[in-house]
């Protein structure tokens, strides 16, 4: 290759790479959701909730009650009409590492729901991880759930792996908290976390989002064998176009609500 044209290409490559690095090193401002009220000042309690080893009968270990939890989504149908809603049938609270992104036999939770901790008054110790299996999206319309939804979300049908849970990278969306901050104006927590999802892209995209984490206070369920419960609700929204979703059947904005119930049975 002639030296002169090589220098031109080198300058061009350095300019493009340099510009890319400059853009990627800048950060957008992130703003917390607006406060619901500006009057009352809330103070957090002293509750500490940890999963431990999920030992049955250990009242100090809190187990995610998947049967009574949910992970819901909604968006405007064709971006302008009423809401299109659905839920993910399979989800969990585990930090799915790359080595764990594989197939697991059904039924039962594929991975232990232990990647979380909640301290009412110690934000630095509170954290959560979660994941959903994208192809378990359930809108109540089997034709959509096994048809266009699969292609539009960049995943594969459940029937491709009968009797197995698919936690491979193409079917996995996960969140990992990076910061939790108590909001004294609402009594809830502002959660900053990373959503990682491949969608229709060639590789997973990690996007930082902000959401509201609500703590539903611990309560005792009376009975012959009383036990305690508490809940965590995470609400956030993201732009599905960032993840390569091009379908016009859904709006740009997808709203997510994760309702996790825990007990200490």
């Amino acid at each position: 290759m002639k030296l002169l044209s090589n220098k031109t290409l080198l300058v061009l490559l350095i300019l493009v790479s340099g510009y890319g690095y400059i853009i990627s090193c800048t950060h957008d401002n992130s703003f917390p959701p607006p406060a619901a009220t500006t009057g009352t000042k809330y103070t957090p309690g002293t509750g500490v909730f940890l999963p431990g080893n999920l030992t049955a009968g250990n009242a100090n270990e809190w187990k995610m009650d998947k049967a009574h939890s949910s992970c819901l989504w909604q968006t405007n149908y064709i971006g302008a009409a009423g809401l299109l809603t659905g839920r993910f049938n399979q989800f969990g609270m585990h930090e799915v590492l790359t080595s764990e992104m594989t197939l697991y036999p059904a039924p039962g939770q594929p991975l232990k729901d232990t990647s979380w901790a909640f301290y009412e008054n110690d934000d630095s110790k509170t954290f959560f991880n979660g994941y959903v299996q994208i192809n378990t999206s359930n809108t109540g319309e089997p034709g959509r759930d096994t048809g266009c939804n699969i292609g539009n979300l960049g995943t594969v049908k459940i029937s491709n792996y009968p009797g197995q849970y698919n936690l491979q990278v193409g079917n996995l969306a996960k969140i990992k908290s990076t910061n939790i901050a108590f909001d004294p104006t609402t009594g809830d927590y502002i959660a900053t976390f990373i959503l990682t999802w491949q969608g229709k892209l060639t590789s997973p995209l990690a996007k930082t989002l902000t959401g509201r984490l609500k703590y539903i206070k611990r309560a005792t369920i009376a009975g012959t064998a009383p036990y305690d419960v508490f809940g965590l609700q995470l609400s956030f929204q993201f732009n599905c176009r960032d993840f390569g979703v091009t379908s016009t059947s859904v709006g740009d904005k997808i709203e997510i609500e994760c309702n996790m119930n825990f007990n200490n049975k």
Binding site: N6, L13, V16, G20, I23, S203
Partner: protein, 158 residues
């Protein structure tokens, strides 16, 4: 993109550093230039290894086809393994042209960002992958230089 997008910059830097010394046969600069396609082929071999690892343990046709979701691009990437063939490696420019296809995707995202139709996070993600590619291609070139040097020493000893 993680395997091939960083190669053009490594290629042009090597040519810039070696300059006209690359034309003198037997010199280190000439050998470095000749090793570029081998380093590129090594990156492609590692890419093939990743695909095989992802397929394991299910080697059914269905699973293999799912690994090739962007089939044309992945097959084009695997073609870089052909640079192990001496007839192809004698033309280093071909390896540059092959890798520029992958660099184009980074360029496309940056241009789309300038026109404000793509989000900031896409560029951040792209640059992370590009950095990994630069490191990988630097490492494969260094490895090929190392292997070539060691084999030269062993041949001289004999």
């Amino acid at each position: 993109m993680a395997f091939f997008a960083g190669y053009p910059l490594i290629y042009t830097i090597v040519f810039f550093i070696t300059g006209k010394k690359a034309d003198s046969k037997g010199s280190f600069a000439n050998r470095l230039v000749k090793l570029l396609p081998y380093a590129y082929a090594l990156s492609a071999t590692l890419f093939l290894g990743l695909i095989i690892r992802n397929i394991y343990p299910d080697y059914s046709l269905k699973n293999i086809s799912e690994q090739f979701q962007n089939s044309y691009l992945r097959i084009f990437g695997l073609l870089a393994i052909l640079f192990w063939i001496p007839a192809l490696h004698r033309k280093p420019i071909l390896s540059l042209l092959h890798s520029l296809v992958f660099f184009f995707f980074l360029l496309k995202d940056i241009i789309l960002h300038i026109t404000s139709s793509t989000s900031h996070e896409v560029i951040i993600n792209d640059m992370k992958i590009y950095t990994d590619s630069l490191l990988l291609n630097s490492a494969t070139l260094a490895f090929m230089v190392f292997i070539y040097t060691i084999s030269g020493i062993l041949v001289n000893k004999k």
